[in-house]
């Protein structure tokens, strides 16, 4: 079976600093895949390259069999990939509801706006209560809910989620992970998840990749992951 997302030899970075030196990975339909690795070794850069926010300078990225390398970010959303950034990039001075409305910007998502809004409100009932509140006044956990919900509003087939639990309390972290798990289980949306915290990633993901110095060091099924080797890679 061919993969939903295929990344082949992707090279990328910022200005004159290379970050990715030929990354290969693939994600199959319906999977949750964890991308682990120490900070500053290219996990976020890879997600930015896939989503078109910061395009790769080399290599190939294919989604549903089609080459999407170098497409502008808005066309990648139209292809069915939603990027949920670590920085969140919420529309801070706009209410929660308008953030979700803009989440459904692309034509396909606009047509399914009502159903998708019900779906995300069902997933995050808190957001219905906070509908009229500006995002800048939300707690960290609520802001993360908006970021995930806004991504879902695009009707994506695949989510790229970058460190969704960063800066949250242990209780909220658990909540965020449970909702990602539910999204995957109930809607079958494929997830590529970047995570610092190994425990969470192993619990959620079916497979993991370890990215170090801009390359994939190894790939393992989460159930048989060599936790010792992962920890070692972090130091």
């Amino acid at each position: 079976m061919s993969a939903l997302l295929e990344v082949r030899g992707v090279v990328g970075g910022y200005e004159d600093i290379g970050v990715l030196h030929g990354v290969d990975l693939e994600v199959h339909e319906g999977e949750v895949v964890g991308l682990l690795g120490p900070n500053g070794h290219g996990k976020s850069t890879l997600l930015k390259a896939i989503s078109g926010i910061h395009p790769a300078t080399g290599g190939e990225i294919r989604f549903q069999g089609e080459d999407i390398t170098g497409l502008p970010a808005h066309e990648i959303v139209e292809r069915g990939i939603a990027y949920i950034a670590e920085e969140r990039f919420l529309f801070a001075d706009m209410p929660v509801l308008e953030n979700l409305q803009l989440g459904a910007w692309i034509p396909r998502a606009r047509a399914r706006y009502r159903e998708n809004l019900e779906m995300v409100y069902e997933l995050f009932p808190r957001l219905r209560e906070r509908e009229r509140q500006h995002c800048s006044t939300l707690s960290g956990g609520e802001a993360q809910m908006v970021a995930i919900a806004r991504g879902l509003m695009s009707g994506a087939r695949m989510l790229l989620i970058d460190e969704p639990s960063i800066g949250l309390s242990p209780g909220l972290k658990k909540g965020v992970y449970e909702s990602i798990e539910r999204i995957n289980r109930e809607t079958g949306i494929t997830v590529l998840l970047v995570e610092q915290e190994i425990d969470y990633a192993l619990r959620l993901a079916k497979r993991i990749y370890l990215l170090k110095r801009g390359r994939i060091e190894f790939e393992q099924p989460a159930a048989e992951a060599d936790v010792g080797a992962i920890h070692e890679a972090y130091f």
Partner: protein
């Protein structure tokens, strides 16, 4: 007392013209973070074009204005796509767009000088006659300027808050990356923002052309007034610009009445410095709409 009310009316009337002028400037800044130093000259292009088509080529007034405003659409779009967009990717984009828009202003000024000459031109008033209120006469023309301006403000407000394109513009203003990851083609939104803002700026040029006069160099005065209003109100904020425009309009006529028109600029700058000392972000800074 009658003088006071007459000056207050004039202030509100001028304020409504300034508001339309400032909205175009603040919309461009709010969405794209580009300060358009050619703003006054863009307004002049529309004023002169309306004059040319309506009175020199002999079409009548309304077609003249419509042609002038229609030209603003591709002009705004092209200014973004061919002028600003290639510069936005650079690290020194702020400085580069400053030079670009200053350069455009100079080019427009000398093009207008070449085509229309240095003589003062004014557009005729829309209506003649006046109505008497308790403090004195109000001309129908001035009344129409206020009505048109207020209608445009209401229209912009509705557009920004009720339409999906307006919402997308506010989204781009709020977070460019946020806009990109929800699938908004930001270059298209920037281009449309410039087109919309240029039309508004063109309207303000026509209205100012009927109220005062046009010379190829007066674009600088209009731009600087717009700059003060927009910074006073909070860069990028539409309600802030409207509030600032009315405040400064009333200050202008009150100062003229009680101290003389020589004191308009000192008074404007004094209020400007005072407000920015107390509130560096402007009176309604930090909000787009």
């Amino acid at each position: 007392m009658n003088e006071f009310f007459a000056a207050l009316w004039s202030g509100l009337m001028i304020g409504s013209l300034y508001a339309i002028m400032a909205i175009g400037l603040t919309v461009i800044y709010g969405v794209s973070r580009v300060f358009n130093f050619a703003h006054g000259h863009v307004a002049l292009i529309a004023g002169y074009l309306a004059w040319l088509v309506a009175f020199e080529l002999g079409a009548s007034y309304i077609p003249g204005i419509l042609v002038a405003l229609a030209v603003m659409v591709p002009l705004g779009w092209a200014t973004y796509q061919w002028g600003v967009r290639p510069l936005m990717r650079r690290k020194e984009a702020d400085f580069a767009t400053l030079l670009l828009t200053l350069g455009l202003a100079i080019i427009v000024q000398f093009a207008l000088l070449e085509i229309f000459g240095p003589r003062v031109k004014a557009l005729p008033e829309f209506f003649s006659g006046s109505v008497n209120l308790w403090f004195g006469p109000i001309s129908y023309h001035e009344l129409s300027l206020v009505v048109i301006s207020v209608a445009i403000m209401a229209g912009i407000w509705a557009f920004m808050t009720r339409t999906s394109l307006g919402r997308a513009m506010r989204g781009v203003a709020s977070s460019v990356h946020g806009a990109r990851i929800v699938g908004i083609d930001t270059n298209r939104v920037y281009g449309l923002t410039f087109a919309l803002a240029f039309v508004l700026t063109g309207v303000s040029g026509v209205l100012l052309g009927t109220h005062s006069y046009m010379t190829p160099a007066i674009g600088w005065d209009w731009m600087i007034k717009g700059f003060i209003i927009v910074v006073f109100g909070g860069l990028g904020s539409i309600p802030g610009a409207i509030l600032a425009a009315f405040t400064l309009g009333v200050i202008e006529t009150m100062v003229t009445l009680y101290a003389g028109s020589l004191w308009i600029w000192p008074a404007w700058l004094a209020v400007f410095v005072l407000v920015l000392t107390l509130r560096p972000q402007g009176i309604l800074g930090g909000r787009t709409a």
